[in-house]
């Protein structure tokens, strides 16, 4: 029940993460906003992108503000009930523990905005997949009406039912037919929304990058890591350098 209680409002505040780094983010956002070109379905032409530029711009702004806002904005594609379900799933894919998860990264807003604007090809996958998820949940646990109402252990059990027949080679971001596709699509969207460069409308406050240890700078100086920090510089091999 914990997940249901927490969803969608409380976590928009998540005051504990991401306060330390304001960076040059405002500048970067201004620079990069026009480059927000998320797409999670199949094919697009350059002409399409140009024609949809204003929508894309507003998508970037919206996703960013959505993740920032204390009061959740309206969803574009999901109903509030659907959003609660999707968020509950994303929170099992990248759970919240002692570090932030998909919930804190605002992944559900990233997915919603994507589906509402330029990932329309994936709408069907979600429209068909969500009821399928509910019926799986009901089949396994007849007393429940909502996935998000289950305990996390129960939720995991339902989601593991998708594990079978998961294709071994996956085409990232390309829609595939079949009901099995729903969980895999959502898995990919969740990862993308959790780890994308925060300037592009997901990974709110860079929490995903904090989790994986990626610093949010635009440039780096050596030494980069543990093994190159004491590197003395290139030394030619003694004597046998002409070995061939």
């Amino acid at each position: 029940m914990r997940i249901r209680q927490m969803s969608l409002t409380e976590n928009r505040l998540h005051p504990t993460v991401g306060k330390s780094r304001k960076l040059r983010r405002n500048t970067m956002n201004e620079l990069n906003r026009r480059n927000f070109l998320l797409r999670t379905g199949t094919g697009l032409s350059a002409a399409w992108i140009t024609a949809n530029w204003p929508a894309l711009l507003s998508a970037a702004k919206h996703a960013h503000n959505a993740a920032k806002a204390a009061t959740p904005p309206k969803f574009e594609f999901f109903t509030p009930e659907e959003a609660a379900e999707v968020e509950a799933i994303t929170a099992r894919i990248v759970p919240t523990d002692d570090t932030p998860g998909a919930r804190e990264a605002g992944v559900v807003y990233f997915i919603d905005r994507s589906l509402a604007t330029f990932a329309v090809d994936d709408q069907k996958t979600y429209r068909e997949g969500l009821p399928d998820l509910q019926s799986r949940a009901k089949e396994m646990l007849p007393d429940t009406s909502k996935f998000s109402g289950l305990t996390t252990e129960q939720q995991d059990a339902v989601l593991h039912s998708f594990d079978e027949n998961t294709p071994t080679t996956r085409r990232a971001f390309r829609a595939r037919p079949g009901a099995q596709n729903f969980f895999e699509t959502l898995r990919q969207h969740t990862i993308a929304g959790f780890l994308i460069d925060p300037d592009y409308g997901g990974n709110h406050d860079g929490v995903g990058w904090k989790v994986i240890g990626r610093e949010r700078e635009h440039m780096f100086q050596p030494p980069f890591g543990y093994y190159d920090k004491d590197y003395p510089g290139w030394q030619p091999l003694a004597k046998e350098a002409d070995k061939k």
Binding site: L37, L44, A46, R92, D97, T169, I212
Partner: protein, 563 residues
Amino acid sequence: MTVDQPHYKTSDEVDFAIIGSGAAGGILAKELSTNGFRVVVLEQGPYLTEADFTHNEIEILALDKLTNHPKLQPNTFRKTPDEKAKPQRALVYGRCVGGTSVHFTANFWRFHEIDFIERSKVGPVAGSGLMDWPIKYADLEPYYTKVEWEIGVSGLAGASPFDPPRSKPYPMPPLPVKSSGVIFERAARKLGWHPFPAPMAINSQARAGRSACVNCGFCLGFGCEVGAKSSSLATAIRMAERTGRCEIRPNSYVHRIETDVNGRATGAIYFDEKRNTHLQKAKAVVVCANGAETPRLLLLSASKRFPNGLANSSGLVGKYLMLNSYTDVLALFEHPLNDYKGYTDSRVLHDFYELDPQKTGFYGGGGLDARFDFTPITFAMGGYPVSGSPSGLPPDTPRWGRGFKNALSHNFTRTMKIACHGTSLPMETNSFSLDPELKDAWGLPALRMTYKNHPDDLKLEAWQRDRALEILEAAGAQKKWHGEIEDDSFAFHLLGTCRMGNDPKTSVINADHRAHDVRNLFLCDGSSLVTSGRGQPTMTIEALAFRAADRITALAKRGEISA
């Protein structure tokens, strides 16, 4: 960028129409316009610049912003010529001004002497069409030097005992070493081998009006926002524009080379952005459209006089496709490498460049590099450079949930890769051709790729993989893993499909890059390569382009092109 360009009318017969603006096309545009010729470059993709490049992984993974788009330009694939090819994305190449050089890794190894004379040195290799080049390393050496100084390569001359002779050192020192490079260097030396700083077409210092690399970490697959990567876009194209004689015409998709009754090329027919058709008239045509699109364009240009496709009297246009053998091994280390910072790879090993077939039991050779070529999303779920390529996580990692998150958070900074690059033997059955059914978004026959590795290529992969495992073992990796060795079904390096040679029966172009069959048609790109080299072809493609420009200029000045 484009303010100083002339705007030639399509009816205005320019000296050269160059098709493609990538590694070869950019350099030919620069050289020919510098030499006083009037040049139009027809590029199918858009004209993007540094301001358009981002760190947005979705643009790269799902939108193909910089590359050929699988929906607009679908293709088919089959292993052998007796199969019916099925629609399946089989290749990626740069589709914007600058071509593939915009998003490449920028590994700039020269070919060695052996690469030009393998056939005469080792004799025939069963099942392959191995052939000597009509030129030798010494013929290209001055042009390799030109690439290093005029385009910009960082490296350390003399650091590899296996390097071929060179007339000049590199113009810039190597880029800073990465943790993966230090691990690799120490372990390989322990084993008695000779790792050296990777030669990279990336500025290690500010030079020629371009920034030094800022180690942003979004390199392979991405356009460089600071212009430090020595792409054609950041270098040759801009030099060409500054001559005032070169027009770069983007969004111009050439689909036919027009010929007259005398069998001479008269210009290039292309679709503009609105799909209107134009004929750009030219005294000569230079095709630099890459090892897939160059043969496709010749096949699309069939006519009464050239029924099997233009310049195809040998029947070899599109054949002898080589992809370079490739495999890699991943490893996890105790401490953070933070290899996500910086460019892709900092140390290379050429001890296995020339292997002895008597000892190994196969023909081939290669090179290894220490790298990290993931970005956060691809590390977590795979996807680039091949859709469906493995992630950076060990195969026993849970696909979601706490175990997935834990592995992600622990491993991202502690993982590296050893990439094993090598020869692929030329086989006539491996090819690009026109699919008889599938069409692209413009209604033109789609590319059909036919490819099955020569058995020796796969043996080489396994052999080099074992060396990589030894290095990682000697380095004290906590965990090592790799995929299966299997036939390639996806192409990055597009080589050999209009091979160079002296005999018109066994090659498509001569040593001047002139088509044997058409006096004023020249081809220069990966398709010109006779052998595959050891896995890093772009340096050689660019050296060939500099050389081709000299040859073409000499022919033109002697009046031997228009005559």
